[in-house]
Symmetry: C2
Subunit: 261 residues, 2 copies
C-alpha cells in the first residue's frame, strides 16, 4: 500500500500578507507525515514589477510574461518568496528544500505556443520527474515549489501555481497516495453564497449538476476541471479550503470541499 | 577510499558577463565525476540595487546588508542567478539543483556580531549539513549553491561565496576526497606580476616565504589563509585559476596554482 503524501498549494493573497503567511506556515509545519508545499506569489510579483518601473501585463487574469517580466518573476518566486518560506519552515522544524521545476529537472514544460494571445515565457507542463523527490521525501525533506518550470533548453518559464500543484500531485501519485489541498480565500466550493454554505463533498455527478443548473460559474470552473482531472489521473483526494482551515486538517471540525470520484 | 568530488567556485566578474558565463558553464558541465558549483554575484546585485533606487553600501569591499539590501540580494542570488544557472546546466546535461544554505539546512550560520562595523544581515558559517547532499551527489545531482545562509531562526543571511565554497569543501571532506577550485580573474597566485608568472604549486612554507618577503600582499592573503585552512581541515587540494583554465582541468596543460600541505 502506498504511503500518504499531502500536497498543499497556497495562493497569492496569503503570500502577500506576512502575518497570514506566518500563521499558515505554522499550520503547515505541524501537518504530520510526508508533505510538499506549492506557492504562488503573483501579487508580490506585480508589486515588485511596479517598483522596478515595469507595468504588469495581464489578459483575463493571466500574466503576459515578456523577458523583463520573467526576470522579475524569477527573482520574486525563486528567490524572495521561496527562500524566505524555506528559512521559516526550517525554523519551524521542517527540513524544507526550495525548488523550481528546473531543479533536478522536476517539472519539464514547453513555451506556450502563440495563438490569439502571446503569453510570452509561459510554460505548459509536459512531465514531472519524481525519482529524486521520492528519495528526499522519504528522507523527511519537505519540497517547497515555486511556480517556475523550464524547457531543458536553458529557458525558465512562468507556470500557474495551481497547475504546478496538480501536475506534481499526478506525478507523485505513482509512488504515493496523494491528498492535494488547495488553500484559497474562500471556505470551499460555495453551495449557497448568501448563507455561506459550501459543498462538503463533490463528485463528478454533483459537479455536473451544479454546473448545468448554473449554481457554479466563473473562475471556480477551470479550478474544478483541473481538480477532477487530477483525480482521474490517480490523485486520491482533492480538497478546496481556506488557509485557516489547514490547522484542522486531521480533525473532525475540518471545513472545506472534498472532491472525489 | 573516498571518491573524488570537485567543488568549483565562480566569481562575480564571470557571473556578470553572459558570454563568459555561458563558456564557463559549458566547461563546468563537462567536468567528469561528482561535482558542486558555488557562485557569487555581487556585481549583479549592486546593479539591481541601483535599479531599485537603493545605493549599495560597502566597507573595505564588504557589503553592508541592511534589510532592503538583503531582500534584493535574496532575489538576485537565490532567484535570478541561481535558477538561470540551474536551467543552463540542465540544458547541458547536468542534473543541477539550486540551493541556498537554508535549503535542507545545508549551511547554518549566525548573524555577524556588531563590533566596529555593523555588517547587517551578514552570516558567519557554523555548520554544514551533508547527509542529503551526499545522497543527491551519489545520485548524479549537481548542487549549485548561491551565497546565502540561514540561522534556523527564520533569518536568511548574506555570506561570502569564497567562504561558502571552503566551508562546503570542509564539510563534504567527511565523505569525499575534495578538490576545491577557485576560479578568479587572475591566472593563479602571481609569482611575478610583470612577467605574468604564477606559482604552479604552493605549500604553507612557500606561502609563508612569499608573505614575509612582501611578494604577496592585499586581497590574495585572506584568500590564501582561507585556502590553507580548508587544507588543514581535510580538503585534498585547493586550486586557484582563471575561469578559462577549467576546460583543461584534467589535462597536462592546466594552468593555475595548486595549494597543498
Amino acid at each position: 500500500m502506498k504511503q500518504k503524501l499531502t500536497i498543499v498549494k497556497i495562493g497569492g493573497n496569503v503570500i502577500d500578507n506576512p502575518e497570514a503567511l506566518d500563521t499558515f506556515l505554522v499550520d503547515f509545519s505541524q501537518l504530520k507525515g510526508p508533505k510538499v508545499l506549492v506557492h504562488g506569489g503573483g501579487k508580490l510579483a506585480s508589486q515588485k514589477l511596479k517598483q522596478m518601473g515595469i507595468e504588469p501585463k495581464m489578459v483575463d487574469g493571466r500574466r503576459i510574461t515578456d523577458e523583463q517580466t520573467l526576470e522579475v518573476i524569477v527573482m520574486v518566486y525563486g528567490g524572495l518568496i521561496n527562500k524566505n518560506i524555506v528559512a521559516q519552515l526550517q525554523q519551524l522544524g521542517n527540513n524544507a528544500l526550495g525548488l523550481s521545476g528546473a531543479d533536478m529537472n522536476s517539472i519539464l514544460a514547453h513555451k506556450r505556443p502563440v495563438r490569439e494571445i502571446d503569453y510570452g515565457f509561459a510554460g505548459d507542463v509536459d512531465t514531472v520527474e519524481t525519482e529524486n523527490l521520492d528519495l528526499l521525501i522519504n528522507n523527511s525533506v519537505v519540497p517547497v515549489f515555486c511556480p517556475l518550470t523550464h524547457d531543458k533548453k536553458g529557458q525558465l518559464l512562468n507556470t500557474n501555481a495551481d497547475t504546478i500543484a496538480s501536475q506534481l500531485a499526478i506525478g507523485l501519485s505513482r509512488s504515493w497516495s496523494v491528498d492535494l489541498v488547495y488553500c484559497f480565500e474562500i471556505k470551499g466550493v460555495m453551495k449557497d453564497m448568501d448563507k455561506g454554505i459550501i459543498f462538503e463533498e463533490m463528485n463528478p455527478a454533483t459537479y455536473e449538476e451544479a454546473r448545468t443548473t448554473g449554481l457554479l460559474t466563473g473562475g471556480i470552473l477551470p479550478k474544478l476541471d483541473n481538480a477532477f482531472e487530477s483525480l482521474n489521473q490517480g490523485v486520491e483526494n482533492v480538497v478546496i479550503c481556506q488557509a485557516d482551515a489547514l490547522k484542522n486538517w486531521s480533525g473532525s471540525n475540518f471545513e472545506g470541499t472534498v472532491l472525489h470520484l
